[in-house]
């Protein structure tokens, strides 16, 4: 690494960490989840304002490591049996949470006078759910292990897998004007198949690994091997057409079932503390405040469309929450599915690149993605069911 490059990276990393903690603390003091402060400080420190945290390759790599380890930690804290028990409800939430936002996003964009292909891409961008944001807030609210938390987590994982299939499908439509549904079904099957095989095959593998590691003496072997296991699972998930974070989550689920699960969790915790904040700050840093200025005529159309997309984006996921059934807070589940986060941004970026999203629509989608992301922490906090069922995580 170049001398000057290293300096910029060190400053950005330190600024992201300090900013995340100062604003995280402030957010908690006003009764909000800390992650809201981290997202917010990202806007401040990002390229469109102070420029202390540029979206450089180094910072994005640290952010990527951060979110992978965060999902690994969430997996370590998750009870696989409980997750399997809520599997049906989670799948219903995921599917409704994709269909309703897709349809309503499509209709809003068509109503605004844009062509079919644009409307399809906008609808697709609204199907996403950011596991990172949601799981972080659930953890802060000590709701990760509640029934609601497990349904949200399961639905978000399913959503992430289905979302990448949807992205492949709409990209194909944009490129060729048609779609091979058989290929899409195969991709979806492959992604879910990987997750299933990773968990079923991973459990005995994890136990063997922990046993072998137990015989070793060298310093730090447990945490190093556990992290390597998570990285390889992330690689496997990505190779199977799923998202890397889904693999890291699965690795956590698997290692939680070994007799060293608790030790791994304890060791991974400070690593997450150092890297995950950079992920949330980097998401905030992607907000370009110039787009928020309504005195620019081009922004007004985008802001209006963004408002429409945000409304259907929020209502569509609340509808998903009502698909959960059973004795749970459906509003809380719906709220948990709202943040589009980094996943929605990826959709917007690809739609812009392949020409499906003209500039004002791209801006509107990005704004709607951020609006849904920023609204989630306070919404979840407000809708948190006040009952004894929630165990402190």
């Amino acid at each position: 690494m170049e001398h000057g490059e290293l300096g910029t990276f060190l400053l950005a990393f330190a600024a992201a960490l300090l900013g995340a903690k100062v604003f995280g603390e402030l957010a908690e003091r006003i009764g909000q989840p800390a992650v809201l402060g981290e997202l917010f400080v990202g806007i401040l420190l990002g390229p469109s304002l102070l420029g202390l945290v540029p979206l450089s390759a180094g910072i994005l790599l640290v952010a990527e490591i951060g979110v992978l380890l965060l999902l690994f930690e969430v997996g370590l804290e998750t009870d696989l049996e409980e997750l399997a028990r809520v599997g049906g409800a989670a799948m219903a939430v995921a599917v409704v949470g994709m269909v309703v936002p897709f349809a309503s996003g499509y209709l809003v964009t068509r109503a605004a006078g844009y062509p079919t292909l644009t409307a399809i891409f906008v609808g697709a961008a609204l199907t996403a759910t950011s596991i990172g944001i949601t799981s972080r807030v659930l953890s802060e609210l000590a709701m990760l292990k509640s029934r609601e938390g497990q349904i949200i987590l399961g639905a978000a994982v399913a959503d992430d897998i289905l979302g990448l299939v949807v992205l492949a499908v709409v990209s194909q439509i944009a490129a060729t004007g048609s779609v091979a549904l058989g290929d899409a079904a195969k991709a979806a099957g492959l992604s879910f198949g990987f997750l299933l095989i990773a968990i079923v095959g991973g459990i005995p593998l994890g136990r063997i690994l922990v046993k072998v590691v137990g015989k070793a003496q060298v310093r730090g072997i447990l945490v190093a091997v556990a992290v390597a296991f998570a990285l390889l699972a992330a690689l496997g998930a990505q190779t199977a057409g799923s998202a890397a974070i889904v693999g890291a989550f699965a690795a956590g689920l698997v290692l939680a079932r070994t007799n060293r699960g608790r030790d791994i969790e304890t060791a991974v915790r400070p690593v997450v503390d150092v890297f995950a904040p950079v992920f949330f700050v980097a998401i905030g840093a992607q907000v370009d405040v110039a787009y928020l200025n309504p005195s620019t005529p081009a922004n007004r159309a985008a802001l209006l469309l963004a408002l429409g997309l945000t409304v259907v984006g929020v209502l569509g996921k609340f509808a998903a929450g009502f698909a959960a059934g059973g004795k749970v807070s459906r509003a809380f589940i719906g709220a948990g599915m709202i943040p589009r986060g980094e996943v929605g941004l990826i959709f917007a970026q690809i739609g812009k690149q392949n020409g499906a999203l003209p500039e004002p629509v791209f801006v509107a989608v990005v704004l709607a993605v951020f609006a849904t992301t920023f609204v989630t922490p306070p919404l979840l906090k407000a809708l948190r069911p006040a009952r004894a069922g929630a165990t402190k995580s």
Copy 2:
């Protein structure tokens, strides 16, 4: 980060971690420090053999984070008073350890028939000491807090600071044929001055920081703020013309003197466990085994020169150990100063770029750097003074 790029990075990171731990464990089983196994597996996994760990920007960034946090941890484990007490001895070791290897490296290169400028660069490359390798072995041998360990550490820090001044001087000679000694003295003064000010000013600052952090509630704030502090100190050291790792070390020294020093050390430990191995594996990965083949005629001259440089490189640092004086194991101290590691490689790279080092001499310097690096862990292990003074770190 691109999809394929992320995959390559995940594989490389996982391979480095698993390789480091497997070979680290094997090294310990044959009575060697684990770091020797990590260096060795780097050769295996590196581009010249298996190619699983490429020297990509991502891996080098993780390695950089790893060595910074390692030196931060070493600083946290170091007693500043003890370090100051051995300051004179450390400075004597550092100076002799630069003068003798420089002079003998110069003479060997001249005797081999190379011009003055080449010989100056070779001599300069032999002045370096890798704090990373040395502190890691000291820590493994539980000698970090011994008098010998403190002298080595202090001398290595002084060496790192002086080494960068030497690098600036010889680069200037290569570029202009002459040198402004006043500038060199100024650069040296600035680097030492930064370290002094960082420590003197850092101690009250660290205490204030820990006090403020103590009032905060948000998760992970202590470790996040401590790491940010280390990153900023690294940036400051680099800006002052010193090495980033010297700043990270100073940050550790300073935070060790707060009432949360022990907590920070505990939290930083698993982070080091996950990142530092990548640093040592990446050093090994820079060995190009093709150079070791004596059947290539060009390699024979390089191998012969490398042998000569290794011999004077080892003997020169043993001479430095004898400058320590007092009731200490001087051979152990000398051995601790031997590894050139990443610092020596930087000298070689720059000498190659500016034309001071023709290809065979460059190869010889690189080989000598690796030879001194690989020989240190077993040497230190063999020379470890067997007395009660060494406390388990």
